[in-house]
């Protein structure tokens, strides 16, 4: 066995790492379950606690939360018909009717088993594909890297569902913030107004805490008086172990969901909700009795649940090998790694191979703990759904303030966090998506750096981007990625 793989496995299987993964899974399941709390918000709240932990332990915690959140979202979708996360929306279609007919335990056990198997499948893909892809990516030069990062940014268009102009504007605003501080090549001060706190630029995580947490607090505050309606039939969950007959029914939908989920996860920008709906639709189409879908069938829960958990492993592949985030959560994970001085990308597998493998194995443990925790403590988790928001919201607010302070022990960061919170609210008011801004904050600096290095080596000749086959490949992908949503929208308009 490759010594790096062995060392990575040992690292991930150490007691503290396992405890962190377990804790992450538990928090993730709760965060995922609570409607109105996204996985991104959950990770942001926990993030400050990970600054002082060693990188392998902190990433174990965050991966546990990521995978746990995906599974947890299905519980509230099944029991309340309110998806805890957007990825669980498809699960509610058949999960809730199943629960309403007194079969909540079957729906929940199907969701748990499918999530676990979907996660496991994507772990296997991650384990085999990531190192190979990293090796290919090692041969990339500055123009290729620029085109790759540009492709990562072009995903912005798929997040701009309502208006492409607003989506692109949001991305440009992100780049505008990235240009604050010293420039990445010459170290020249830009837009610092003589403030030493701005020399190193705006910290990505500070901006993120404000952008995601404050609008979320405002959203939840508006709805804090609403109580979730618990169906008495669903309150008592007994016998979560699935029968052999049900396991047989789940087989094919899980396979479809896992495969589609992993593949869609690799594509930047697509994400869990799309994967869940596509696999639901596909399973329905190939089923002998498609009419039973929507009325409470096991296949309708198994397919989307395995897909949304498979997305996690899929999204980790471009994140770890190319440094390109596929969704907001992987963007935050990149930020978390950067705090520890580890830059995700092909070099991670060269210079920090044991760590890279420990991340992969931690993802396996996260899926395993999800299964064990969900199976053993589900009744307790469901009770936690009743935690009053009047208690939960102030805790989140205090943790956000403390978290942004703890990043660099600076109150300046707290004020920046608050300013970004206001920006997030303003963008919501304007119906402008926040994710493009987030992607620009993560990728903007790299984009400038690779572009300037490439142009310096070519003496300012931009044809350098169109001579390398790798660069051309990524530029073509970017063109498709930008034009696809426009084309898709036109077709939709025409069909209406």
């Amino acid at each position: 066995m490759n010594p790096d793989i062995y060392e990575g496995f040992v690292k991930s299987a150490q007691l503290l790492s396992l405890l962190a993964t377990c804790a992450g899974s538990f928090i993730g399941l709760i965060v995922g379950m609570i409607p109105g709390m996204t996985i991104s918000a959950g990770i942001i709240i926990v993030l400050p606690l990970t600054f002082v932990l060693p990188p392998s332990i902190s990433i174990s915690l965050l991966l546990g939360l990521y995978a746990g959140g995906m599974m947890g979202g299905s519980f509230s979708a099944i029991l309340l018909k309110i998806p805890g996360t957007p990825s669980a929306s498809a699960t509610a279609l058949d999960g809730y009717p199943l629960a309403s007919s007194g079969k909540a335990h079957i729906a929940l056990s199907t969701a748990i088993i499918s999530s676990f198997l979907g996660g496991l499948f994507s772990f296997i893909c991650l384990y085999f594909i990531a190192p190979e892809l990293a090796e290919v990516a090692l041969s990339f030069r500055a123009p290729d890297l620029f085109s790759l990062v540009f492709f990562g940014l072009s995903v912005i268009c798929s997040f701009a569902t309502k208006s492409i102009i607003k989506g692109l504007l949001s991305g440009i605003i992100g780049l505008l913030f990235v240009s604050i501080g010293q420039d990445p090549v010459m170290g020249t001060e830009r837009f610092t107004f003589g403030n030493p706190d701005l020399l190193s630029g705006i910290h990505f995580l500070t901006a993120l805490i404000g952008l995601f947490a404050i609008p979320q607090l405002a959203d939840n505050l508006r709805e804090s008086t609403k109580n979730f309606n618990h169906n008495k039939k669903n309150s008592e969950i007994k016998g979560l172990l699935p029968s052999l007959k049900n396991l047989k029914i789940m087989r094919l939908p899980i396979l479809i969901g896992s495969f589609l989920g992993t593949f869609i996860g690799i594509l930047p920008g697509a994400g869990g909700p799309i994967a869940a709906f596509i696999s639901y639709d596909y399973t329905k189409k190939i089923n002998k009795n498609p009419k039973k879908f929507g009325k409470g069938c096991i296949e309708g829960v198994a397919a989307p649940e395995s897909a949304n958990n498979a997305v996690c492993g899929g999204a980790l592949i471009p994140m770890m090998t190319l440094g390109i985030p596929g969704d907001p959560v992987t963007a935050i994970l990149i930020g978390a790694l950067l705090v520890h001085g580890l830059a995700p990308g092909p070099l991670l597998f060269m210079e920090q191979a044991p760590f890279a493998y420990s991340v992969i194995f931690s993802f396996f443990w996260a899926n395993l703990f999800n299964l064990l925790i969900a199976m053993s403590t589900l009744p307790l988790l469901i009770k936690l759904l009743k935690t009053p928001k009047s208690l939960l919201l102030p805790i989140i607010a205090v943790l956000c303030v403390v978290g942004s302070f703890a990043l660099r022990n600076s109150f300046f960061d707290v004020y920046i966090m608050f300013a970004f919170g206001l920006l997030g609210l303003f963008m919501k008011w304007l119906d402008m998506p926040v994710v493009p801004l987030l992607l620009a904050l993560v990728l903007g600096r790299q984009l400038e750096e690779h572009m300037r290095i490439a142009l310096t080596s070519s003496q300012g000749d931009i044809s350098i981007f169109f001579t390398s086959p790798i660069s051309i490949f990524f530029l073509c992908l970017s063109t498709i990625s930008i034009s696809w949503p426009i084309f898709f929208r036109r077709r939709k308009k025409l069909s209406l």
């Binding site: 504007l169 009053p388 707290v414």
Partner: protein, 145 residues
């Protein structure tokens, strides 16, 4: 939404002008025939102008406001929340975490429709202490005193 878009596109254009003005004053330190530190900000400024202008034109052309859900983002409760957080972060370095946090916590609980005085006082004090000691003893992060 049309009115909002018009106001914001004009605001974006003004921001673009300010950004371009500041970009103009970035010192030129570069090798011949290579992009300098102001190259990337200029690219951003141009894209920003084009997009803001497109947003403005698009909304000038649109005659009627599209049907939309009436969902107010900045309602009274949210304004109070923003004010509460603002006062909290302003006073935090002056008064210290242990003094100001219980007041902030209690204020937020009250805002989130919790009216039971006993619950508010118990939770605001106990959770403040818990967070303080968690950060201090477990994570070795010293919060301002």
């Amino acid at each position: 939404m049309r009115k909002k878009n018009l106001i914001s596109s004009i605001a974006f254009l003004i921001i673009g002008i300010c950004y371009s003005y500041l970009t103009f004053w970035i010192p030129i330190r570069t090798l011949p025939n290579t992009p300098g530190p102001s190259f990337f900000p200029w690219v951003i400024a141009i894209c920003f102008f084009i997009l803001s202008f497109l947003l403005l034109i698009k909304n000038l052309i649109t005659k009627k406001d599209e049907k939309e859900e009436k969902k107010e983002i900045f309602e009274k409760k949210v304004f109070v929340l923003i004010l509460l957080i603002f006062i909290y972060i302003l006073l935090l370095p002056l008064t210290g975490f242990l003094f100001i946090t219980p007041f902030f916590f209690a204020g937020f609980m009250f805002l989130a429709s919790e009216k039971r005085f006993f619950y508010i006082s118990i939770f605001s004090l106990s959770i403040t202490l818990f967070i303080y000691y968690l950060f201090k003893n477990v994570f070795s992060i010293y919060l301002p005193n």
